[in-house]
Symmetry: C2
Subunit: 88 residues, 2 copies
DNA sequence: AATAATTATCGTCTATAGGCGATGAACGAT
DNA sequence: ATCGTTCATCGCCTATAGACGATAATTATT
């Protein structure tokens, strides 16, 4: 994995809310934006922005289905991250 | 480990230069600021700033010895980080 | 005591992050 | 066709990041 890509993922994880989002996504496997908005004390636009960052880093992917978007963690990317950390 | 602390570490790793610094510190065990400055195409103040961020996150510690400061990776913190990643 | 070497900090600049409300776009249901 | 739902995006604001050169602070050496 590219070091730039790695830095992007770390950066994406570099915010408490985004870590919690990742943990939540892993726990319940897949999730819709509104559900996450309900959990956190932030506006819909703020959560959407966090999800966008996570998506851009590659650690999260989102599938549009009708009016909703289903977000989930990309296990492949997560595993690559785990492997990298192990080399440290 | 506190989630705020975790986010700080991820944030600290969220920059290509800082990832490379960490890798270098692990490879050669301990290192002085000037040596890192020689490796990267950045000024001494910029590298010093990166090292400060890494130190503040806890992933790196620095010991002052005379006019030099010896930086090294805190293995305990690194292991905690590894353990956390494994739980994801 | 003066100088050289090493690192940290300050001030400055531009760019990005992080929050918000308001609006836009896409879809389902009525 | 209209309306409600859901999400993304825009514009705005303030705070922080990231780079630099210049300067301060500390120490070893001469």
């Amino acid at each position: 994995m590219d070091i730039e890509q790695l830095a992007k993922i770390f950066k994406a994880l570099g915010h408490p809310t985004r870590i919690k989002i990742i943990e939540h996504l892993i726990n319940i496997n897949t999730c819709v934006c509104g559900e996450i908005v309900d959990i956190f004390p932030y506006s819909q636009s703020t959560i959407s922005q966090h999800l966008k960052l996570l998506k851009e880093s590659g650690i999260v992917c989102g599938e549009v289905e009708g009016p909703k978007t289903y977000f989930c963690v990309d296990k492949t990317v997560l595993n690559t991250l785990k492997q990298y950390i192990e080399t440290l």
